[in-house]
Amino acid sequence: MLLIRCPYCEEERPELEFRNAGEAHIARPTNIAAESDDDFEKFFFIRANPKGVIYERWRHIHGCARFFNAVRDTVTDKFVMTYKAGEPKPAKLPGAPK
């Protein structure tokens, strides 16, 4: 069972308390009704599903109930870092070469 650090509770908690909520940093268009079919397809259906580093959303559903973002390596299943919802995609990951 993974340990996940909730950026709101500021501690590591067991995976059982969390639920994955899909890829992060996909903003709902402000004027969504005017989106073209292609743009809506990209927004709603297309996901990167990378092998390696993924930016994704998690919810501390059985804790503080907040949604937050996480950087996880899909190969090793290791969490690189977590950060609050609304914060920008981190420019540099911890442990990454300078």
């Binding site: 993974l2 340990l3 009704a33 989106e35 709603f44 949604f67 919802a85």
Partner: protein
Amino acid sequence: MNAAFRISGAGRLSQAKTASFSFDGKPYTGIAGDTLASALLANGVHLVGRSFKYHRPRGFLSAGAEEPNALVQIVRDDARKTPNVRATVQELYDGLIANSQNRWPSLAFDVGAVNDIASPMFSAGFYYKTFMWPKWAWKDLYEPKIRAAAGLGVSPEKPDPDHYASRYAHCEVLVLGGGAAGIASAVAAAETGVRVILADEQAEFGGSLRFESGARIDGQDGYAWAQAAIARLKAMDNVRVLSRTTAFGYYAQNFVGLVERVSDHIKNPGRELARERLWQVRANRVVIATGAIERHMVFANNDRPGVMLASAARTYLNHYGVAVGRNVGVYTANDSAYAAAIDLKKAGVNIAAIVDLRDNPSGPVIDEARALGIEINFGRAVVSAGGKLRVSSMTVQPKNGGGGRTIPVDAILMSAGWTPSVHLFSQSRGKVAFNEESKRFVPGAYAQDCVSVGACNGADGLDATVDEAYAAGAKAAKEAGGKVGKGAKPKVDAGESWSRGMLGAGPGAGPGTTVKAFVDFQNDVTAKDIRQAVHEGMHSIEHVKRFTTNGMATDQGKTSNMHGLAIAAEELGKPIPQVGLTTFRAPYTPVTFGSIVGHARGALFDPTRRTATHGWAARQGAVFEDVGHWKRAWYFPKAGEGMHAAVNRECVTVRKVGGLFDASTLGKIEVVGPDAAKFMELLYTNPWEKLESGRCRYGIMLREDGFIYDDGVVGRLAPDRFHVTTTTGGAPRVMNHMEDYLQTEFPHLNVWLTSITEQWAVIAVQGPKSRDIIAPLVEGIDMSDEAMPHMSVREGKICGVPTRLFRMSFTGERGFEVNVPADYGEAVWEALWAEGQKHGATAYGTETMHVLRAEKGYIIVGQDTDGTVTPNDAGLDWAVGKKKTDFVGIRGLTRPDLVAKGRKQLVGLKTKDPKVVLEEGAQIVADPKQPIPMKMIGHVTSSYWSENCGRSIALALVAGGRDRMGQTLYVPMPNGTIEVEVTGMVFVDEKGERLNG
């Protein structure tokens, strides 16, 4: 009385305390501390089982957890018949009853052994090839027969009466394995003051110190040192010592599963003791000290009872005081078997000969064996074992061929070398690396915060092992925050050291031979089978494994994997590392379902949710149905009534007079805040800004793709306060959906969401008399049609307690839903029931609720919709705000597919024969005479007998349904085709006048 093969003065067990036991009905005597294996061997019993496929007689290969052969059934009583217990692990208790498996009529004469003679039919992959046709025969003929003939033990037929405990534990350093390495690591870590857990699968700690007679540490015998060290560790507050505890799985972030066998070794455990305890340990650092497992030699008939690992014979002698034979042969490719021969010789057992595959080895153990007068043959091989139910001889030849001779023996000890136990390291996702020089896989790159020490890390000598382990234990503790320890490293005065050995088939079992030289004993895989797999095109080791089943038995190939790999590599002409190792998976040894399940069985398997009126309904004789976690009253039969009669009565009574229904399970969410209406506008298709306080509206929630996600009636209590209801099953996901948008897409909105499902009990009072039933109990609310029209909500009191009183209807009748704080739910229900009785009202359950709503064409999300239905498909376009510029799903609704013609639409269906009730889920076709497969144009979503209509009614999703009004369609069923007419969805009171009636 001494058993025949118990040697006085040998071993560590006291002869004082005996234990009676039986095997296949025959009584025997062992002594306290024995395993079932050692006790049987002390009585001269080697034959204990029949093999899986060929039913060959089998004995003990090992003295530990790696045992592939000696699987028995341990019987405590009718319900406690544990199959596939390794006799080498099962501790003896007085009165133990064990039976052999997979034999008929008896172990010594087994009819199934004909498989051995017919074995050419059963070679590798036989079931993929032999039983291909006729097709029907697999299920009805071949599979049942094969399953009956090839098998292990028999499962008990009664529920397991034992209970299983479960614990979570946290520590800085977890040490897996309690041999010399594990103990040294645990001592070093414990001295720093950090929390340490030390676990070992055996009853006693010591690991290979149990048999290594030459080991001396800190001035004492190795085994005695281990016991003293364990006693000191047990006395420390920061250390937990777990014996009989197997680390079976290594998961992410140093999460390790251990299973502790609490009472399998106790005569009468009693109810207070769990059978097993599951430990789920999260450790900061893990030290893996799992040792190494000796490999057998691969030669013809190497599976005869009496042929065993040298270290096993040594364990039986040095720990249990048991000689495995009186005239013992030894076949080896490394030094360690010499030590076994020496110990046995010194104990008075004749060593017929040592056969050493190596050409000119030298070393102290060889010198010592020679000095004891043991015959040693270098450069020779045992090419075959004689005997059937017990080994009787070994045939020895020069390894490169030539004349052989046959030596009578009653046991053969073998050692092809030692395989580091990298199972847990590998499970931790560490990568093993092949050491070319020592021909073994050892831990390479680590994936987690763990370290391997001792034999499992490739350390060869005791000295090196203790050095490495002590340092690693101290380092792990320091990394986990420990202080510098004050203790001293244990000093190894003497210890044995073995390395090298051989992999693969020995002489006489090589390419071109067809002898039964077993690689995997438990799955009956021979060297020939592996080569055959390669010939038939299995070039990856993963394919070889699956084709031959090598390493796939319950022992997971602990003794066989390396041999199998080497044979495949030889056949492929590739070096071993290029062929690669199969993946090690949890569990290390078999784990009972009981220990995984723990207390989560029966009533504790899953939570049960009961409403406030559950007790009342139960007293009325209600029949309940499960809806998610909820128990809901399904119908309320009167004496002598079946379900249909009860539901018909309830349905008619509600429309004629009135009925009470517990609607408490509906999800309820309070949406509060200055931006509450704005939020509702975004989450539901309907307009909300202009909904007046005190009024209700039926709301539809979509996903972004435009499909219906949930629905429910929403009451606006105040400008900034909405009382939202959801479907029963949808409550948690609707809450999640709302929170998701509020937190991440619309965080600028000042809104607070609260689940209030549990807080309010909801009593639906429906029917023409509903107002008359409620009104006498209500204070402060004008319930007249003018003051409180359909779809309105009022706050006031009922029976003196606060209520949110909704006027709404899921029946099409005048109706109310009385919300009261859940604690008052039953009392208010009883009061309403008393009023209802005056009018002749009924209580009704979920079945009647379903029928009544279907009579009105009200949909149930999840029954009449399936996640691909739009509001338009469901005939609910009126609920989508046409002037709105945004809501979740607005863009999805205009997707080309969602506005295309011919989409499935919800319609009503009437069977031509009004008595026929359609089956929900039945498929609909336009032309019943078309050839199969027919073109399905829809399916039945809801179908009931309607007593109010005097006929059956149904709802269905049909392609282009609304353009088919009046058409005849067909529902093909196994007993004939049913004709139906497409109709509107409303079967009762099409104009909706009864809402105010």
